[in-house]
Amino acid sequence: MTDHSRAAGESRGTPYAPHTPEATAAMLSAVGADSEDELFDVPESVAFDGELGIEARSERAARRHVEGLLSRNDDLTEFLGRGHYDHYVPAVVDDLASRSEFLTSYTQYQPEIAQGFLQALFEYQSMLVELTGLDVANCSMYDAATALGEAATLSQRVRSVSGDRVLVPERLREGKRAVLENYADGPGVQVETYPTDDANADVEGLEAALDDDVAMVYAENPTVRGTIEERLGEIGDLADDYDALFCLGIDPVALALLEEPASVGADVVVGEADTLGVPAAYGTGHGLFVTREEYLRQVPGRLVGAAADDSGRRAYTLTLQTREQHIRRERATSNICTNQAWLALRTAIHAAWLGPDGLLDLAESCVTEARDLAERFDAVDGVRAPVHDRHHFREFVARTDRPAEAVRADLAEAGYAVHAVGEHEVQVCVTETAADDADGLVAAFEEVA
């Protein structure tokens, strides 16, 4: 921060922040400071006093270096899943989303200039409202885990129960659980688990865990092991009996086929919207958050609303911003004041391109591809698939006589990536992008199982 080698009055910054020494001096004198150091006054104890260690290279050399690093990646055919799903992204998505009107570092929220982008975000929200049957969708969060954390803190604000417990399935992805714990830490939310039964929610176990101090019950459909929940309506009723918020985790493809969240009593729907419009890549995420109108003023994040301009034409604008940090500061509904606008745009384009029928076809293929592949795994000696006696969506768990870790490693050797999820359990995910490679996976699996 503080660079003592700099002469007094000399400007900080880069060619991209063109503060000339004259401009800097004028600004300093206007606020009555003698130097930038005096203005920012960073205590020595926290000032960075060293080299950042950034090497300068020519563009060509930097490119060669990065390509070299990338070439060290394994080239595996992925059957991974467990939160990251690869659906084919039609070319129209890249093409439209790459237009300069959309692909810009400018945050496109100014209604005077960004009507097109705001409308796209409004369409995205509308699709989620239609798919969930609920009333209000925000125009995205960082990822599903963040959305879950926000749902938990929302439950504290809108439920006047006697305690701060939030119940989640005992099988929950570790990363999601960690983010939820982070969210829970400040407001003093207690994250506890309820048991699962053959990968689905154990409803009787949930009932035993429920009490009048529970603010939220969370369930996922499909579950982390790819099974489809069959008793969501009962979970919704139970949550209702105890005056707890019912939060359901789901994604837009699954929404096309599985029970509508509104019909099972979901109060908040969260999940990963990046199953549409975004290729599966390490670290992407695009969270969705949908809820009932009664919680409109408690929604975290950004909301696009339709209004009318001064000549009465429909116009879009960010709305209800008084919920947000830049207005309400420490009393805001959430620390999130941003969203994943460009990813939401891509999701909206992809969903619109598929249309309701296309989306349903895609969702149905998630059931049939997984069922067919599980049958082929089951036919291999010493293997049982699927382990859970359930309907599955995209993925399933197979039991192997050999240790799962050895099976996973041998499959990777043969060019295929699956997860080892237990001592003798591997988890396999298949979507249309990997279906053509299923024969190769089965052949390799027959060799190593």
């Binding site: 003023r297 008084t322 207005i327 009393r331």
Partner: protein, 127 residues
């Protein structure tokens, strides 16, 4: 522009008024405050039975340009909440001392009223 400052109320520096009627204290925000806020679009209030502590915030008034906390002029238990504001928050602009009241409380200590601004003192503050 001169603002309405009724003589039968006491005031807080933060522009809340309180009026004692048959032992119950009605609380709202002043004409000056509603004018400063602009069009009110939403009012968030406590529930009947909640306890208010003097000088602590008990609700929120949201207008098209700002969000403001509302502070309690006196301590007490909420006995009634102006439900009409839920669908007609504009009542607060139209009739801040009447239809636009916020809550009614049973005062914990009526002597607290003597420590508030008199109408004259409040007029001096806003002029």
């Amino acid at each position: 522009m001169s603002f309405d400052v009724p003589d039968d109320c006491r005031y807080l520096e933060s522009h809340e008024w309180v009026r004692l009627e048959d032992g119950a204290a009605r609380i709202g925000v002043s004409d000056f405050a509603q004018d400063e806020l602009g069009d009110v679009v939403f009012v968030e209030l406590p529930a009947a039975g909640d306890e208010l502590s003097r000088d602590e915030d008990f609700g929120v008034v949201e207008s098209i340009k700002a969000v403001s906390d509302v502070y309690a002029p006196i301590s007490g238990t909420v006995t009634a909440v102006n439900e009409a504001l839920e669908n007609e928050p504009e009542l607060l602009n139209e009739d801040p001392y009447g239809e636009g009241w916020l809550v009614e409380v049973e005062p914990a200590d009526e002597d607290e009223l003597d420590e508030l601004l008199s109408p004259e003192a409040y007029r001096d503050q806003i002029e």
